[in-house]
């Protein structure tokens, strides 16, 4: 059974008289305990999609289902408990005027779970689970480093015992050495609790480390979804190919990346046909006229790509 299913989600914002299409017709599902890595350039709509899942952004078109049910009042209430979020910037994610114990217990307070003493006890448990000393509880966010704050943010997200955490680039603002610590923490928490992650990132190395499946977004469209091993071994969409080639690797001779030239087109004015055709090395006449559908790659049913010439 799927935990979260997104059906043809579209998010559009009016900008003056024009419309900005942040997310267009995205369908994606997440199973319990699964990590889906959501990758793409800046402005590809990853965070907007994450906000839709977290309930911060109402989709303009399409709908989300949670545990198979449409998002009515009762399901939304359940989702408030079961879906939590961790943000990129650990310095803006914690209220500077709240002690850590109150920050961690906040989701419980909002949902009126347990007594005051229960919540304090839960905060004390969580603070140790994320690897912080117990005396952190009475301190304020400014006394902690970026990595420690991200641990506090994770503890807050864990407080109501969620099934899914939307992690919106949780490592991007951290030092590399701290990144691996947080990554390992997230992984061990997942193993211990059967958590699912929607892991938004532009760092493919990190995604390769954590994700079960990878979804690639380009200009608000889902261009490829595949299990991690497949996508890294044999990307199907030319954009994914280009993204993987752009990853610098130690020991590999630098060669000129094929494919990615120029900038992503404006989401205010997306190109007709395949949105990637303006930068695609494989572009043909059909790409400019007809939008490709997300279909399985030849011989690999688990791997889908939206391309007329997928490999």
């Amino acid at each position: 059974m799927t935990l979260v299913a997104l059906d043809n989600i579209g998010v559009k914002f009016p900008v003056g008289r024009r419309t900005l299409t942040a997310v267009d017709n995205v369908s994606l599902h997440l199973a319990p305990g699964e990590t889906v890595g959501l990758v793409g350039e800046s402005g590809s709509g990853k965070s907007t999609l994450g906000n839709v899942v977290a309930g911060l952004q109402r989709p303009t078109t399409g709908a989300m289902r949670f545990r198979g049910k449409p998002m009515d009042t009762a399901t939304t209430k359940a989702a408030h408990k079961e879906i939590q979020i961790v943000f990129q910037d650990p310095f803006g994610a914690l209220d500077p005027r709240m002690p850590v114990s109150a920050i961690i217990a906040e989701p419980l307070l909002i949902q009126r779970i347990g007594s005051r003493a229960d919540r304090a006890g839960r905060a004390a448990e969580l603070v140790e689970q994320v690897g912080l000393p117990r005396d952190a509880l009475n301190r304020y966010p400014h006394e902690f480093s970026g990595g420690q704050r991200q641990r506090i943010a994770i503890a807050r997200a864990l407080a109501p015992d969620p099934a899914l955490i939307v992690a919106d680039e949780p490592l991007s603002a951290l030092d590399v050495s701290i990144q691996s610590q947080i990554l390992n923490l997230m992984r061990s928490l997942q193993q211990a609790r059967g958590l699912a992650y929607l892991f938004i990132s532009h760092d493919l190395a990190v995604v390769n480390h954590l994700a079960d499946r990878v979804a690639v977004l380009y200009l608000g469209r889902l261009v490829e979804v595949a299990p991690r091993a497949e996508i890294f071994a044999m990307p199907s969409h030319p954009y994914t190919v280009a993204l993987l080639e752009a990853v610098p690797r130690i020991g590999r001779r630098h060669r000129r990346a094929v494919g990615i030239h120029g900038e992503m087109p404006s989401p205010l004015d997306p190109p007709p046909g395949c949105v990637f055709h303006t930068r695609c090395p494989k572009v043909q006449a059909i790409c400019r006229a007809e939008e490709p559908r997300l279909e399985p790659a030849p011989g690999r049913p688990a791997q889908s790509a939206a391309c007329h010439f997928k490999s």
Partner: protein
């Protein structure tokens, strides 16, 4: 802490009015034209004013009125401004537009005609008893209400601006993901975080209001003679400044000390509320 001490001294000073009057055996309202502008003496420690009344006791009595007007008007104005500002900034869109245009309208209103109209309102027509309408208490509450009604705009704008920035903070969004509603977010996150800029604005308002009361008194709508307030004593002394400069200096000095002390208190409060400041 020094400011708190000074404010306590001021409170003690104004609270001592009745006992001191009794002890000195003077009536602060009784005019004695034979002893105008008397120099300090054991009977009148600070001398007498232009009507021969004891200056010290009148300063003490006037302080009661001035401090009360300052604190009450600021409090009422802050509640109005804070509510409008937070609601406007948090909900945004059309409500924000309506509330902010209303605020701009208040700022744009010509103050003097407005004050004259508000000051001239016949309270008996508003349903108050004639006895209350002509008592000194009515004049006092009239000032408090008038000042509060015109002096909330700055606080509303400041609060709105701070709220606009705060509502998009990640901790606010995280609270929303957990199901936090507008009421919870406003009280738990927005209010504590607007406190810092707000305290400064509020303490500045207290000082301004004490002076504003004197303007009202001068126009005849505020605290009117014979009831003293620092504001009307200062105004009254203006025309006598060559004959009796001390009469202007005493209330002026007290207003000055009060404003400074309140500002320092605000500074201290700000530090006390901010977990980041060293203690």
């Amino acid at each position: 802490m020094g400011s708190l001490f000074i404010l306590l001294l001021l409170l003690l000073f104004v609270a001592a009015a009745t006992p001191v009057a009794h002890w000195l055996g003077v009536d602060p309202y009784e005019t004695d034209l034979l002893s105008q502008y008397a120099p300090p003496s054991p009977e009148h420690p600070l001398g007498t004013d232009d009507a021969g009344r004891d200056e010290l006791v009148r300063l003490m009595l006037g302080g009661q009125i001035s401090l009360l007007v300052g604190v009450l008007s600021t409090l009422v104005g802050t509640v109005i401004g804070l509510t409008i500002g937070v609601v406007s900034g948090y909900f945004g869109k059309r409500l924000d537009a309506v509330l902010m245009r209303f605020t701009d309208g208040m700022i744009a209103l010509p103050l003097l005609p407005l004050l004259i109209v508000l000051g001239a309102l016949d309270l008996t027509k508003l349903g108050f008893s004639a006895q209350f309408a002509h008592s000194g208490a009515a004049g006092f509450w009239r000032v408090v209400v008038i000042v509060a009604l015109v002096d909330w705009t700055g606080i509303a704008r400041l609060t709105r601006a701070a709220t606009l920035a705060l509502r998009e903070r990640d901790y606010v969004r995280a609270a929303r993901v957990s199901g936090g509603r507008a009421g919870y977010i406003m009280t738990a996150h927005i209010l504590p975080n607007v406190a810092t800029p707000l305290i400064v604005a509020v303490t500045l308002t207290v000082g301004r209001v004490i002076l504003f009361e004197s303007v009202l008194s001068f126009l005849g709508f505020g605290i009117v003679a014979p009831t003293p307030s620092w504001g009307n004593m200062l105004n009254n002394a203006q025309e006598l400044v060559t004959t009796a400069p001390a009469l202007a200096i005493y209330p002026g000095l007290l207003i000055f000390v009060t404003v400074i002390a309140v500002n320092f208190l605000g500074d201290g409060l700000q530090h006390a509320f901010d977990p980041r400041s060293e203690r």
